[in-house]
């Protein structure tokens, strides 16, 4: 078992037994589901919306080179720079060198999952640039020195009391756990940072090819300040974020909001293309877009799972997933948690190390139903299981086990014989009081459950007797 898998299991056991944690998460996702239900009710045909989103993303991904080049061309015409980064190291190097060469001391960042993926903030800090998260949830987890818990609500696992204690410790002037006051404290602290930072970094929800603009969605407005006040703006996005037309946003904006939080539409849907124009009042002097590959082009080559790149990072699949709801976001130990993370991570970070995530699912399919761009998530988990068996190392005990199972199932006599053997083994184990130990064939299950009594007669024996009596 990989070390990531062991760590996953350890945390899963711990978190699923933490009832306070489960209560916090349940309240969060319950609120989400009622808002999401209301939100979907605003569409006359939600299924048609999902279908149309799928089609637009299909068109974009299956002509990715063409739309990326169109986007690049238009951004350059607007006076912006476009940098293509093959991997995390190249992306971090470009942004760090840019910051150092322009004398940047402080960088303010709005939420970007890609920045988490490439570990941008530590890279900048190493180069002597202070990196400050400005999304409230991200700011909170940064103060706690933790990764985000959830794609959309990074501090979902914390209560107001936790946050009040954290602010008191780190910021000093806090003597309340009223959310309004806590937000005001963060606002005051971050305003100083917005106006003293030389560089702002944002993600991009969409790269709009025909307009040469990035689209950034934010409720708090931190994404607006990051891209308006500092003199350099760097937008960081995966190559899969491109969409063909500005007009497509008339659908994607409401769909993203509904799937993400249940809102009809997010407060600020911003379009940015290029630095401030000569006749404009304000805005950065430099605008850079970093397009990140980092394994995406390999996933693109996987025809079966190409649609994983359709993901708009709304977090809907996390909220509906019974596994996520039980073990929480940090247990995954990945940038992208929940079903989408379980599908995507083996592609980005290796099937050997992360194949266990394919089993972090009940295969109930709630994720697939919730996905606004119709990614076939739970089937992709199954495909990853198959790929793991075919292309990666599985334990010898599992391989022998399946061979034995195959041999058993191919003949009625063998099935009867093995069934008898198994009942006998279980009976002996239970009589010796070894249930739940390494000697128990049902060990992993009976470790946490009372083992059922093994019936005297097998199903076949009972069936035979009844039929003989008739």
């Amino acid at each position: 078992m990989s070390s990531a898998a062991q760590e996953f299991l350890r945390r899963a056991v711990e978190k699923s037994a933490d009832l306070t944690h489960r209560q916090i998460i349940r309240r969060g996702v319950d609120q989400y589901s009622s808002a999401n239900d209301r939100g979907r009710g605003r569409f006359s045909d939600w299924e048609a919306a999902r279908q149309r989103c799928h089609e637009i993303k299909w068109e974009a991904l299956n002509n990715l080179d063409r739309y990326l080049l169109e986007f690049e061309q238009r951004v350059k015409e607007r006076g912006g720079h476009v940098f293509w980064a093959a991997d995390s190291a190249e992306a971090c190097r470009y942004i760090t060198e840019l910051a150092v060469s322009r004398g940047v001391h402080k960088m303010v960042k709005s939420k970007s999952m890609v920045a988490e993926e490439i570990h941008l903030s530590p890279a900048l800090e190493k180069a002597g640039v202070q990196a400050i998260e400005t999304d409230l949830g991200e700011y909170i987890v940064q103060l706690r020195d933790e990764p985000p818990y959830h794609i959309v609500t990074p501090a979902m696992h914390l209560t107001r009391k936790d946050i009040a204690a954290l602010f008191k410790e780190k910021l000093g002037d806090v003597d309340t756990d009223d959310p309004v006051e806590l937000v005001a404290v963060a606002r005051r602290a971050l305003r100083r940072d917005f106006f003293s930072a030389e560089m702002g970094i944002s993600g991009a929800n969409f790269l709009v090819a025909d307009a040469g603009m990035i689209a950034v969605t934010t409720n708090e407005g931190n994404g607006r300040l990051c891209t308006s006040v500092p003199r350099i703006h760097v937008a960081l996005a995966g190559i899969e974020k491109v969409i063909p037309r500005l007009q497509d946003l008339a659908l994607f904006w409401p769909v993203l909001a509904t799937a993400g939080t249940g809102q009809p539409i997010t407060c600020y849907n911003t379009l940015i293309g290029g630095p401030r124009k000569p006749n404009e009042v304000d805005g950065p002097e430099e605008f850079h877009v970093v397009l990140l590959d980092n394994g995406r082009s390999e996933l693109l080559a996987d025809v079966e799972q190409r649609d994983v790149l359709h993901c708009i990072r709304c977090g809907a699949c996390l909220n509906v997933c019974p596994v996520f709801r039980t073990v929480g976001g940090h247990t995954y130990g990945t940038t992208y948690p929940g079903p989408i993370g379980s599908v995507l991570t083996p592609h980005l970070r290796g099937l050997d190390e992360f194949q266990h995530l394919s089993y972090a699912s009940s295969l109930c399919g709630a994720c697939t139903d919730a996905c606004p761009v119709k990614i076939d998530l739970h089937h992709h988990l199954l495909e990853n299981r198959r790929n793991a068996v075919n292309h990666s190392t599985r334990p010898w005990s599992e391989r022998i086990g399946f061979k034995l199972w195959q041999w058993t199932m191919q003949s009625a006599a063998r099935f009867r014989f093995m069934g008898g053997l198994a009942r006998m083994a279980l009976r002996v184990t239970h009589r010796l009081g070894l249930d739940g130990t390494a000697f128990d064939p049902m060990g992993p299950w009976s470790k946490n459950h009372a083992a059922p009594r093994v019936p005297e007669k097998s199903f076949r024996a009972l069936w035979g007797k009844d039929h003989a009596a008739n």
Binding site: I24, G28, Q31, Y32, F43, S44, A48, Q51, R52, H54, E55, W58, L61, N62, D65, V82, W84, L136, I140, T153, M156, T159, R160, V183, A184, R187, L190, R191, F194, A211, N219, N222, R224, L225, S228, L246, L249, A250, L251, W253, P254, T261, P264, I265, C267, Y268, L271, I272, P275, K277, E280, V281, D282, E286, H288, A301, V303, R306, D307, K374
Partner: protein, 215 residues
């Protein structure tokens, strides 16, 4: 400024092209199924949506009458300067509400942290979601986010049925090409990052007020 060096550009493009040799399967097409019900009764819908997203809505008979309406809004705000988009219409109106306040016109630079409110025009209003579409021309990027109150002065012909129509209008009129920034604003800044409890005025304005002139 030097051209951005791009050592991996060709490599990434080549990988994409190789990957795309085989097409991906696609789901059945949605065809012409309507995704949203058509928006009718624009003004009613706009008002209703504003109420939902907590945008304050003030109707005035004409542009001239928006002066006193703005004056009333500003009277309740703490003393301090007001940032205003430098446009002939808003210059005309300023005498109606100024009342001794300092005005910073957008032509003099971006809004300061100390601004108490911003007054700007917009490119369009959207009935479907109760939204305001602004561009860099509406006082710049900071105009709609720096001050705690944002007052938008709009006229009825700017009210469009849906986002689709609003995006079509700004593209047709060259506004997309002429501006480095556009924003579809729906309500004022908010967060629910603490226990999913809604708090207004996270980083941007606490209040968004639309003053709509009927003619």
């Amino acid at each position: 400024m030097p051209q951005t060096e791009n050592p991996s550009r060709e490599k990434i493009l080549a990988r994409i092209r190789t990957a795309l040799r085989e097409p991906a399967p696609r789901h059945e097409a949605a065809g012409a199924r309507a995704i949203f019900a058509p928006v009718t009764g624009l003004l009613d819908r706009f008002q209703k949506e504003c109420a939902i997203n907590l945008t304050e809505y003030v109707a005035v008979p004409n542009l001239r009458a928006s002066g006193p309406a703005i004056k009333e809004i500003l009277a309740a705000l703490p003393p301090g300067e007001i940032f205003v988009q430098d446009s002939p219409d808003l210059r005309d109106l300023a005498s109606e509400w100024q009342d001794g306040r300092t005005i910073q016109w957008s032509s003099e630079g971006g809004p300061r942290e100390s601004s108490q409110a911003t007054i700007s025009l917009c490119e369009a209003l959207v009935a479907q979601t109760g939204s305001v579409l602004v561009s860099a021309a509406c006082g710049g990027r900071g105009a709609s986010v720096v001050a705690p109150v944002h007052i938008v002065v709009a006229t009825l012909p700017q009210l469009l049925p849906d986002i689709d129509a609003a995006l079509a209008r700004v593209q047709e009129r060259g506004i997309v090409a002429q501006n480095s920034f556009l924003c579809l604003i729906t309500g004022s800044s908010r967060t629910a990052d603490i226990e999913k409890i809604l708090v207004m005025g996270a980083h941007g304005p606490r209040r968004l007020i639309v003053v709509l002139a009927m003619s």
